[in-house]
Assembly symmetry: C2
Homo-oligomer: 239 residues x 2
DNA sequence: CGCCGCATTGACGTTCGTCAAGTCTAGTGG
DNA sequence: CCACTAGACTTGACGAACGTCAATGCGGCG
């Protein structure tokens, strides 16, 4: 089993164009590699971290697909995001030194562990890194911003259309088709993320099928008319 | 008019316990003061920055009350936050070098201008500052996180209750009453923030009055039963 | 093969949005 | 000082969108 011990580095990572090291020189890249103290494999349905857990590190997803969710007191939880390979997790934990949500793998996954204090030390040396962290956090702020706008002002069709377009765009940036995708999450999880009940998600999918906008076969989605989806998103109601 | 030129510094700022300098030594505090190149006075209804405007600086609110909003294509906009004295603005602009929303003063206000590149340079010298920026951005991520949960899963009463409690808490941290407040925004702006129509906001206020939970006289709010409000928030519907 | 979780579909109820009328308030100018 | 007005707010009647409850279908896994 010697092949299993091939060192996983940023250099041989297939999402290095999307992840933390974008725009760094190969020298700087090695510095980052040196800071990654560990990688963790997370099995399907296992948690990378959980609400209340002590914060110490950020995580970069090397491969796999996650959901972030809060499992509220009443038992049921709410999904707040679906991060995928090349994206970073854990920023919620910095402010109070504890994570405020769970991160659960929706398929077997692997992440790079980035201890924040090491990252901060390193960014004293590697100058672009400094700005880089700010950019990634700003991106997360903007992402949540967009979700807020969606949740506050869109109706079910608009939400689901925006959701599908967002997913397929991000997948396309990772080399996948821009018209086909496999959903890694249940209708309930989609609904939770979109602020809808699972039945509404299901009905809306059905409506899209009738209108020949998408082809839905359980979790396999084919986008037949991306322009129609974009049009639906754009007509998002005022408020 | 000599008194007008008194230098405004962090040292004599009455929100220094809440703002960027928390936890810094007086020496470090002076460093921060040296980095604040300018202060800006923003008149009621004027914009501190606007969507599309080039990003260069973060802003710390010295006094006054703002709303952040996106004025969408269709004319009407959506409010995404109500930052107040001691809080920071502008993180949305870092990622794409342009602001993605407007920041508008809801009363005459004054802000400290913090150019990001100077801030980054300074945090090479002043070590705690480094972590501090991360904490403040993390706080913003968590704040938006909470808004997402509200917008996705709460009904009108729960949203308004959460809104009032949040406002009064933040005002209390600034030395104001924990049971009385003056709303600086219209019903429409509240509704926009909460994902509700202004009529619904008005009706919900009325219901709270009937139940003797709050006393509402236009924009003057008196909280009669904070526990009842907290109870309403806690029973937020599942999903 | 049978079970169980996920998904779809239908009938019905609730909540909130829409439309509209009318009130209140602060600000303006005679 | 007061009438006038515009904008903010309140309230009511109605309708649309989504949630709720329930029955049924489907597929994967032991």
């Amino acid at each position: 089993m010697g092949t299993q011990t091939i060192k996983a580095t940023c250099v041989n990572c297939n999402v290095r164009q999307l992840c933390l090291p974008v725009g760094l020189s190969s020298l700087e890249l090695e510095e980052i590699d040196s800071l990654i103290t560990a990688r963790r494999r997370i099995k399907h349905n296992a948690a990378l971290f959980q609400k209340g857990e002590r914060f110490s590190s950020l995580y970069a997803i090397r491969n796999g697909f996650f959901k972030t969710c809060v499992t509220s007191a009443d038992g049921l939880g709410r999904v707040t995001g679906f991060p995928m390979a090349g994206e970073m997790l854990g920023f919620d934990g910095i402010v109070n030194d504890r994570h405020i949500c769970d991160a659960v793998a929706l398929e077997d996954a692997e992440v790079c562990v980035l201890p924040l204090d090491l990252l901060e030390k390193l960014s004293l040396k590697v100058n672009p890194l400094h700005r880089h962290i700010h950019i990634i956090m700003s991106r997360e702020i903007v992402r949540e911003h967009d979700v807020m706008l969606m949740l506050g002002g869109m109706r079910s069709e608009e939400r689901l259309a925006a959701f599908l377009l967002n997913l397929v765009d991000r997948l396309h940036a990772r080399g996948y088709s821009r018209s086909e995708l496999i959903l890694r999450m249940t209708r309930k999880e989609i609904g939770s993320y979109l602020g809808l009940k699972l039945e509404t998600v299901s009905r809306t999918f059905s409506r899209f099928m009738v209108e020949r906008i998408v082809e839905v076969k359980h979790r396999h989605i084919q986008i037949l008319d991306a322009d129609a989806l974009r049009q639906i998103v754009d007509q998002s109601s005022s408020l």
